[in-house]
Symmetry: C2
Subunit: 700 residues, 2 copies
Amino acid sequence: MQARLSVRQILHPQSVGVIGASDDVGKFGGRIMHYLIKHGFPGTIVPVNPSRAEVRGVHAYPRIGDAPGPVDVCILAVPAAVLVQAVRECAEAGVGCCVVMTTGFAEIGPAGRARQDELEAIARTHGMRIVGPNCMGLINPHHALALTSSLVLEDGELARGRIGLISQSGALMVSIYDRARSADIGFSACVSLGNQSDVEICDVLEYMRDDPCTEAICLYVEGFRSPRRFLELASDCRRAGKPVLMVKSGRTEAGVRAALSHTASLAGSYRVLASACAERGVLLMDDVDDMVRAADALLRWGVPGGDGVAVLSPSGGGAAVMIDRISERGLRPAVFGEATRVRLAEHLGPTFIGNPIDLGGRLDSGAAGLGGELVRVLAGDPDVGVLCVLLTTAPGFVAVARGIGEALLAAAKPFVLSVTPGTSADAPRTVLRKIGCPYYDHADSALRVLGTLLEARRLGAVVAVETVRPGGLPATDAVLPTGRLTEPEVKQLVARYGVPVGEERVCADVEAAVKAATAIGFPVALKPVCRALVHKSDIGAVRLGLGSVEALRDAWAEVMTAVHRALPDATIEGGVVQQMHRGELELIMGVRRDPQFGPVLVVGAGGVLAELLDDVTVALAPVGVARVMEMLRGLKVWPLLDGWRGRPKLDVAAVADAACRLSWLANDLGDRLVDLELNPLLVGREDEGMVAVDGRGAVE
Amino acid sequence: MQARLSVRQILHPQSVGVIGASDDVGKFGGRIMHYLIKHGFPGTIVPVNPSRAEVRGVHAYPRIGDAPGPVDVCILAVPAAVLVQAVRECAEAGVGCCVVMTTGFAEIGPAGRARQDELEAIARTHGMRIVGPNCMGLINPHHALALTSSLVLEDGELARGRIGLISQSGALMVSIYDRARSADIGFSACVSLGNQSDVEICDVLEYMRDDPCTEAICLYVEGFRSPRRFLELASDCRRAGKPVLMVKSGRTEAGVRAALSHTASLAGSYRVLASACAERGVLLMDDVDDMVRAADALLRWGVPGGDGVAVLSPSGGGAAVMIDRISERGLRPAVFGEATRVRLAEHLGPTFIGNPIDLGGRLDSGAAGLGGELVRVLAGDPDVGVLCVLLTTAPGFVAVARGIGEALLAAAKPFVLSVTPGTSADAPRTVLRKIGCPYYDHADSALRVLGTLLEARRLGAVVAVETVRPGGLPATDAVLPTGRLTEPEVKQLVARYGVPVGEERVCADVEAAVKAATAIGFPVALKPVCRALVHKSDIGAVRLGLGSVEALRDAWAEVMTAVHRALPDATIEGGVVQQMHRGELELIMGVRRDPQFGPVLVVGAGGVLAELLDDVTVALAPVGVARVMEMLRGLKVWPLLDGWRGRPKLDVAAVADAACRLSWLANDLGDRLVDLELNPLLVGREDEGMVAVDGRGAVE
């Protein structure tokens, strides 16, 4: 068995076989041949066709096994019925990798799944790699390799550049490629992966991490085969200074179904993925074309040095529309410094009032250079991180566009330039392309790229992944409980990790409860201890504020009756008497095992309104205190923790410490974790701490 | 003095004068002449130029007064310094309307404001109309009238169509016009208004309401001169079946500043405007180009018959991306009926699982007709209200595009079609244009138009403006109090309108308070009655749950001391003893005078978290119960009123009745209203009613 090819070898083959090669560009095998030749593949092309001696002037072979010497990579677009046999022949002929465009595998259900298993077995046995099935091949402009049947290779040269594109969807890959090429953006490589039966996203990402031609990476992902590996590679890319941008489908229920049916991908929790991505600087987007534009912008300028946005337009209306849309997206209009204001006022006279800048009515006095001059002034302002320019028609439109475009290119700051008119702006667009000035035909794209540049800046400040174990935790090999836990067991467990819980005693009978209450001090709370009962308050079995022995006795009887009525067969282990606590705010804190990423920490606002608003934030466990602080600042209730409108500041340090500790508990439980939830936590004022007053959970 | 021209006359002049006419298309007056002639203006053109006998072959006059007979409309793009004199000459020559492109008026501050006042005085004196200043003229394709200097008139014919465009911004007007024309969308008329010194938005809207050529109306607005009139006209347009769409800038603080500096427009509360627009079916958008596309879509298909969206793409990835983005926008993926599912499965085989539909891998078997066939199946499904198609490259791309395009056009249902690749899709785009099938180059536009179509459907269900006075209100000429009101006065006032308030007694001294409390029944609340004190609880002067005479006596002393300490010079009118109330939820309800629209009703969630979330809804007063119900359903806390997760349903009928009555009080107060706020309202369970337990307010 040969050594399996690396992704680098797959992307740099010396010989390429085309199974089903044809002269007819109406057929898959015809177009593939055509594009290989047209784009000047420098290695050996091996057409395979049982009935032709030559295809497109290249010597053809009836079967791949007839070709002299081993072939590095074969591409197959034959019908599903004969695909497995064709792949077997490749494997037996010592082919290094099959790129399988054929569909009808895992994505269509059990029958296809079985066929894909067969493919995988062949590949495993022979040490052959597979890209696909259900993919659209790959393109490596730096190796003059066009290994796909897509029509987008018909026009022009291969778009060579610095962006690596990994797409599960083949059609999206070539559509993205084509649109980017039309905007003069090129790629270091484009790889479509389809069902990821062998070569998967992370294999290609690892290649691109190390590939010197790749300086930024764009991914379209439906589902990960190895989510944790993706995160590690994303961290590597961050360290290597290569931005990673991603559109992940399956963000919504309908999208999850679509991803499953398209590439048999199982989507995990998007919220967890998003949090993990934020920690690693991965930029999540919702539009694949704008993703490439944003990558290009990051390669041009890097991360903006400031978050202030300056808006300039020859149209006052256009400027007003843009500044509204920028503000509505939560971005910040720049506030110009005094020096800038003075210079702007010199040029603009009395209409100048600040950001946005309206050139309107001033372009006609032969001052086509004014736009460029203003761009220079704005770019020099320390509060301007990004320039946002909207071009509408203006007298001397081409000269205005050129002047502004050249000034933007000369400025050392990132910009987005929208050109929104129709065909009247064709000439300015041509000029902008000629001088190499990127522009957008639609303000949405400009705003989205702008937002992504500033998101990259924001994520640059996000605390990196935590790996330092806090002090005072149990040893990592400590014995931890299993099974469904009672509330006291949950509290004991989290208390071992240093999470504050209230004083309480488990009592076997009412007399013990009375003693416990007397020791703790009235008023107390009383709850049943019953492993089978998850939602105690739903059956009225939680009694708070019991102020006397009599009240406690009555409550004991009522609580036990309620449990017995709700769960007649359940074992009641007793009752738990708890100290009563007060807090300024209720929070929820929990950990659970995510099917993709493993243990995650969840922190959210408590109470019914917060639950209604789904005010929670998640992160992969373990997390550090600084990251929890970031999470808390992202909650809608954050102002209530932070002393909003004269309210007292609460003890967020205690909350962050507890969350950090709980996340380490989750980490230590690892795959045994099902979930643990502390709800509510009562948070006191600064230095008053916090306390978990109820909890539930299960450990495997 | 002549009769002032109507907007219809301004848009259909028999003669047009060009002040500063020139042969040089590098000048304003040159381009205007060029476009008037090029686009075949059928009336008389009167060039005015002191030093030319002829301009572009048309007899010219040294001064407008030299022209024979009165000229209907003159256009002026002369420098600001000579503009006023030029306008005066027009007025003296009996010109009907001056279209003033010159800038440097109210938008630049006091000096310009004075110059604009001068303009207005001239016009008033002579009964002459003015469009602008600071505008870009107007276009009436149905009258072959191109009265602007914009370069967008250079190419092709005037874009004649059914959409009326009113834009304060001149540059945006022509940019919108050009982009629409490039997508084969035409206009009944385009009018830019600039500073609205005379002809204002509502004048043109009134014209378009009545104009038989105008079937839908798009507005770009920075500020209204007559907001209430706009609303009346919007209602008229709705009755006339003419959709009204609007982009309003000044939605954010930065946008408000921009609108002010651009056309001297004062922006009012966008929230109030948005509510008023919703009641009148006006569709608010944030992108001017997509506004026209949405108007075109509404003209093609009317309002969608259902809100389910079916997604179809040759790219499974494209389909997955679109269904996610649709869901994230709160739109609903259609759920196909059984008959549809059977037919789809016949075509698609085992990969078919529902919405979205992925054609991928099935287009190569010579089945370019498959796309069209699937469109027909989807269009036949009763749950599909709108079809959303994303075209990526595919084998036989042109045939696929044509097949899908023709089927979409034949279907009786609205659709949005995105074509996202780059130049590889130029041929399909050409075919789509040829067959008259609208498409979008960017998914954002498609999604925005889709959203607007469904918003039109939603607004169709919004209750229209209320005009029926509920029973039991005071007579409209009843005497109502004035000045800053005390809490008991506010409650007495709202109680006269039927808003439930708690039992309370105003007491001059502590002995009276004790008597009152005994009559009301302990526990009671005690508050000071002091006109100068607005926020009683901030100084600790609200005492709740006083359970005994002793507690009340102590509280009285403390409350009075607190007021005296906080406001040593204020008159304390006594104390008010109030019955204690409980409710399931706190709300806030108030009325205030909006500077643009007059009395408005505000209803929102109470409590600190709700305040933090800004969970309020507004409507112009008066409103009917049905509209209040809609408002309540729009609150984030609505589920808590509606029995969320097993909670009791609350008495929303009582809340709606009270809000309706309060809005009539605001209506009756009219301009005298400053504001009245009831906070909190305590809402009980169904049939338990609600009660206002505190209030403040002022009436002029």
